[in-house]
Symmetry: C2
Subunit: 246 residues, 2 copies
């Protein structure tokens, strides 16, 4: 393969425009992919236009393999996926990008090499190229407006690769990093509000008081308060109590 | 909202380049979205550059709402999602695009209006704009190469919207459309191969024969053969048997 990291190779077949190769390189870098292969690019190789567009992703181009035809480019791959907007009646598994990249991950984890093949900008892959793939990947575009450009198609596959690879969903990660209040702080906050509001006659009528207190505690617990939030809520109460007492 | 179909509004805040607005419109159309809102675009509104880039997606621009600020643009929304590459320590739910669009779908199915907010190309959304959102959407880019362009970000959200909305996965749909062989045809194919290979002395030694036959049947069953495949396999066998007999 083109590098050391076990990731799929993104194989661009007869790309027409250097700019699109560069944009594809950027899309790959966005989602942690570094292995590109180019097959017979129309403007030759290396491509200065690709390099200009890639900017920060230039090392993807520098490391890219250059091949004369698709069989050579996929020669060392154990599992080949062909991307196409419209599967053309060929009887091969047709996978969503999500499923395809989950499968790629399984293959790669087992030590196999995976190639994802993209056709030229307008024409797409030819039938005898699709025939060489193990499976077809079809992006679920609106059939009335199916024209995805090359870099966008690479972007979606790279996104799905990363999605299949990233362990912790960001909602959990973000919560893990925030300076969240501990339960004891929430408890004391509830105590303080309860005492103050009790004194203010808020929990009325008496037969509703228990339920009202429980609801208040439940709300504080549900809000995922940070330490700063708790301090602010203490401060707000302190000021309200002062006004009430004046 | 900007149209009749219940889909989220894609809200572009202070977009700098008309080309990016046009590319965003195309990305929306790719995945069946038609509702765009633009907030204070730098080059004014309507934008001829946006229209030139949008080409086939021009009707998204024609129908787009134009607003002076974000509060006006999200005014009628019940649920607002702010996209940002790096959540900035704000304590809000941080959702993956997948989760965000699944939530959007739930909200919309319940009759609510959803807005997805995108910041300007380089600067991104300001903190007081993010503060107005119910939740943050964070695309899981590689932190070392996090620069997604505006249209790519719109593309990924639109893709996830459609993914959350499309019912039948394409692998099932493709299989449903192909002229698949019926089980009885597979059974007869197996019978024919078994008889012919039996006569040819293939199932040897005798104590392995049953297992070999079972494996062959299992393979035929697993291949998802079409009628045409079955005919071809019959034809291949017929020819092999003739050669063997000559």
């Amino acid at each position: 393969m083109d590098g050391e990291t076990p990731t799929p190779a993104m194989i661009l077949v007869r790309p027409q425009m250097g700019e699109n190769i560069g944009a594809a390189a950027r899309a790959m870098r966005n989602f942690g992919l570094g292995r590109m292969r180019v097959v017979a690019p129309r403007e030759g190789w290396p491509s200065s236009r690709a390099a200009a567009t890639a900017s920060g992703a230039g090392r993807v181009l520098d490391a890219a393999g250059h091949f004369d035809d698709l069989p050579a480019a996929i020669g060392d791959c154990h599992y080949v996926l062909a991307t196409t907007a419209r599967p053309r009646g060929m009887v091969k598994p047709v996978l969503t990008p999500e499923r395809a990249m989950a499968d790629a991950r399984t293959m790669i984890a087992a030590g196999q090499r995976v190639g994802v093949v993209f056709g030229p900008e307008r024409a797409g892959l030819e039938n005898d190229e699709i025939a060489r793939a193990d499976a077809i990947v079809s992006v679920p575009v609106d059939p009335e407006f199916a024209s995805l450009n090359l870099a966008q198609c690479v972007l979606l596959m790279a996104y799905e690769w990363r999605r299949a690879s990233v362990a912790a969903p960001p909602e959990i990660a973000a919560r893990a990093q925030a300076d969240m209040a501990e339960a004891i702080e929430i408890e004391r906050l509830g105590d303080r509000y309860e005492t103050t509001l009790e004194a203010a006659g808020y929990f009325f009528p008496p037969d509703k008081a228990e339920g009202m207190k429980r609801n208040m505690r439940a709300m504080f617990a549900r809000l995922a308060l940070t330490r700063a939030d708790v301090q602010m809520l203490h401060g707000m109460l302190r000021h309200m109590a002062r006004r009430g007492g004046s």
